[in-house]
Symmetry: D2
Subunit: 364 residues, 4 copies
């Protein structure tokens, strides 16, 4: 097996050992293209293999708990996609499994990948260093538009049984985690609303198993198209959150603005290599939001990449995630975000759903 090319120095040797998928032809083709050494058609087979140390769970949410818990019990480290689960109950069982595994040196991490965008790391650092003081306001939006078209086909992401929720869990989970990560605070109470604008959609051909045009059959959308909520933060600030797949023209706009007593931060993933920082201690005449191009060697992860101004893209955060996970495994430490962090997000998602149903504020 060839040595894996890499930009980072890793304390462990890694290999892409096996790719699991239910359809042998498909999984074999994918493995060939993506460079996996072997395939399995049942994820359980991975648990039996001695040459597999780490399992990346990137299936729909309804299967996370079963796979992750089984993998941890089999002594495999686990990286699980977000949101951690489809319910608080599942997430709690996963945390318990992770705790048990940790006692044996087996690690579990949840893939809130955006934490590892360098600008987000800098935001957290500035808050931790007291540069914006006490957090007064968090406003966070995750805006996409791919469901604006009512003819966009039904997929598993619009099926509550599989996905748990819609925009809320898929993308709202990210901004919940990001803002809790950056501020170091928790969301303690919420008042939310969910909305499904398009309740019936054409069934995608691959879901029906038919070769005909998808347009002939439709099915119900059982999740939210958009969700919004207000929040109380543990430090006394106010939060405003919005996740939607109906924001025409916004493709993947993760926007986070945080106002503190001493300064402010603003981020938009559509310009992901930049963080805006206002320092209230600057004199009034020369104060202003600084457009920090987060591509200096001193910024997180950047030393492994390019010179200043040569930006990173979407997938770099996944690379950083693996680097940090491998580092934690080698060091025998708990990687973050942990399953407990994933559970914390799950509790907020759950409170938002219940609050929306009830029409009232609820504690998380």
């Amino acid at each position: 097996m060839a040595h894996r090319p890499r930009f980072f120095d890793l304390p462990l040797e890694t290999s892409m050992t096996a790719l699991a998928g239910r359809n042998r032809a498909n999984v074999t083709a994918a493995a060939a293209k993506l460079g996996w050494d072997s395939v399995e058609t049942d994820w359980r087979a991975l648990l039996e293999r001695d040459d597999v140390d780490l399992i990346d769970v990137c299936t729909p949410g309804d299967t996370h708990a079963e796979i992750a818990i089984a993998a941890l019990e089999a002594g495999k480290h686990v990286l699980c996609e977000k949101p951690l689960a489809n319910s608080v109950d599942e997430a709690e069982r996963m945390v318990a499994a992770a705790d048990t595994a940790a006692a044996r040196g087996v690690r579990a991490m949840v893939g809130f990948t955006y934490r590892r965008v360098p600008a987000i790391q800098l935001a957290r650092q500035l808050v931790a260093d007291g540069r914006i003081g006490t957090v007064r306001h968090v406003r966070a939006q995750y805006l996409q538009d791919w469901l604006s078209d009512p003819q966009a086909p039904l997929t598993w992401r619009m099926d509550k049984a599989k996905a748990g929720s819609g925009a809320l869990g898929d993308i709202g989970a990210h901004i919940i985690d990001l803002t809790q990560f950056i501020t170091g605070e928790s969301i303690t109470g919420v008042s939310g609303a969910l909305k499904t604008f398009v309740t019936e959609r054409p069934v995608a051909a691959e879901l029906t198993g038919l070769s005909g045009t998808a347009g002939d059959e439709t099915g119900p959308v059982t999740v939210d198209d958009a969700s919004v909520f207000l929040a109380h933060l543990s430090g006394g600030g106010l939060g405003v959150y919005e996740a939607t797949r109906f924001a025409q023209g916004r493709k993947n706009a993760i926007r986070i603005e945080i106002n503190g007593s001493q300064g402010s931060l603003a981020f938009d993933f559509e310009d992901m290599n930049v963080l805006h920082f206002f320092d209230a201690s600057d004199p009034a005449t020369t104060g202003g939001f600084r457009r920090i191009v987060v591509t200096e060697g001193e910024h997180a992860y950047i030393a492994a990449w390019w010179p200043p101004g040569h930006g990173l893209g979407y997938e770099h955060a996944f690379t950083h995630q693996v680097v940090d996970l491998v580092g934690a495994i080698a060091a025998g430490e708990q990687p973050t975000p942990s399953f407990a962090d994933g559970l914390a997000v799950q509790k907020v998602l759950d409170a938002v759903e219940r609050s929306a149903e009830k029409g009232a504020w609820l504690d998380v």
Copy 2:
């Protein structure tokens, strides 16, 4: 009396006849500087004067109802500052007075000035023309930072008895009105939260009447420093609103973004001559938010001003307001925003306050 210089052709001749204020020395100095022909020290005196046809009520909110109603009853046209009143009850009485006056040809208007920023007019036009389709999302923020400093002194704006509310009524009222104006829809239900971050402030010297440093005495802040609320819109969309004086680095950021089924609009008063417009019917390869510099002769009000690209400033909207008011008076028509529009905003403010108290969604 000299002819008033003007940029617009007006159907009526105007003059700045009298300025009223309680302190004769101060009001005389102000009149001299600003070009008023005479002064009064009691606003009631204006009602007696035959040479006064129109009264501009720009006092604190607790006096709006009394002055405006008396002026209308005295047959004077009225332009009243926003928010219309400090309570729904006051506002309803003002609407009744305006209705009675209108029957006699006497006009009443509320000063939601920002409606007359050309970019806002364009936004309304695009919605009315169906260019963004059905409104899915309204996100509106009015962000200032002048109270972030806990040593900023107490003024009447922080006194509930005079101001009615804090950020909510002072600046939140603007974004409520603007979004109802642009979309042509109403806010039908809200869930809100209010917050006072700094509950005690030094009393300003001019309020204590003492010559000593203000720092020796403090007083309670009895209004909200910040308010946030979710909203249901009459057309089925979701709204998210935020008004605060604690957003460090944001000086007067009125930000409105509206996503519809066919397109989107975005505006920020910090760049007031620009409207961003996304047209979902553009091909995917060349679609994108258009940065429209709203300074063309074809845009509202602009023909009276400068060539393209020579922007307007804050006070131009006040000029437009007077132009439109004088035009409506001359034409014998109801100017907008009417007192009824002001009442509609008042009802939302009221619902937000009650919702915040109750911790639940309320109908407007």
Copy 3:
């Protein structure tokens, strides 16, 4: 005569005494609309009047020298539009007249209005304070697009006899003056190019005196549509200048960026209330261009206007110009920019034209 309304405290009382124009009907209508107290149909009549102290010369460039010199000789203060003249020779005679007049307490100023945009004042201050160190690069663009349409009609601005030059003198003059003002340096050598993209245009009806459609007759464009030049600066830096009326989509984009050894500045008139400032002494991790909203009370001229974030527009700079001129007259001081400053610009314009003709670098 009524007291003039004003925002600034002025040391002298001002009045708009007389408006001069050749066509009595037109000038009378303009005076009525704009608030002038009387009219004249020959500018020479203004020189005879005892109630006229200051003359604003805003005629085409070919008449500046004659009018301004006559006015100064008649003891009238003069504010002359830019560029100062149509030739270096004219400008030199105007400077001589201004010098003679100054000895008698009569003042002359040239209307490079954009100097009085608050963000430009701040830029100059930051350079003067050494905040950007030694100037390495000046890049300045004045971009408009109103001649992109080949059917845009011929006016005096496209007639070399009247206008002197095209984009170069009309708008290029502004960026030459602005950059010399901000940096405190002179342009010492240039290499330029001029271009006329559309050499023949329809004659505007008002120029032919005919009532027929303009389209039937065309005339030659005798000035440049666009001009570009490189420059050496007196402090050792390199300049790049561009003035054009053919930049589609750019309406009045005055863009100036200055890079120094210790920092940088960037300005764009399409966002005129903002200055971007990079301070190289900030740490690498938190350094970045600061978006300074130049609307604080501490910024030039702002204390007379609005609270932070309530921006100014195009004409405010004209108000500032008059305020400063009246102040200098009252104080018995030389207002700036002086005719000598206007001559300095004229010499650059002249050198650019000669350089373009010769195809080589020329000293200014």
Copy 4:
């Protein structure tokens, strides 16, 4: 040997066979980290190997001609870093070698990587489709700031013998190629200036071979720190170019703006996933620069990557370069940019240098 992971379907199987470097320890470590299968300490050894089909020449400019010509003569396809060579003479010999090789099916390409940024591809397409009409203006800047610090050490990039030129050839070459590529036009004449702001720098320890502090020894900078030039374009437009390593706060700002008779384009590599496009055929009221987020499946290269809004980074253009090169080799076609394209850039670089020396315009 493992299958190479990939995002694109390639018509040929590729492998990273051998890495050549002069120092065995260093090249072995690099190969291990980056995933090369073997190493060589003399580039000539690569020419002897049967398992090497393609050679990537990424050495300093003074060695390009020798290596590339030898490689082509040995029947190896060549990808050569930019600028193609250090002189027009070398570049011409390389083109001749490439022509001879092409007759035998051996391909040569020069690495103007930025052509393969999707937004640049879109820009070219829009020009080719006539969307901006006749090109009037090209303004192109390549701004960096890494030499602003006079203590930044001397490297081979500041040595004329090795690098050929400074900012001009290193980064100016990119904007020359990009603008010729996008417009499909040639630069036909130039007037330039070069500047070296810091003429003496500390010698980097690795260059002296000494272990002591570098600060003790200094050496001369023999190339330009900054270069600027005006240009005539083959289609009648005017160009303004600027390349510098002294633009404080600009890290890797490749800015290209093109104004045509029917529209305009603007790009800045600091926001590399975006192209701004102004279409003059839009109505005046709704016209404006469109901020196109170039991440749609319909955009060049994107279908192989992520969903809309999930941006690419710096190195993706290198991936695209290899994909296109492998595709051309498989198809038996000439890849672009060819060595002839590289020679075209070289001729402009040469003309700028000679023009700067002479102080006059020169034909390319």
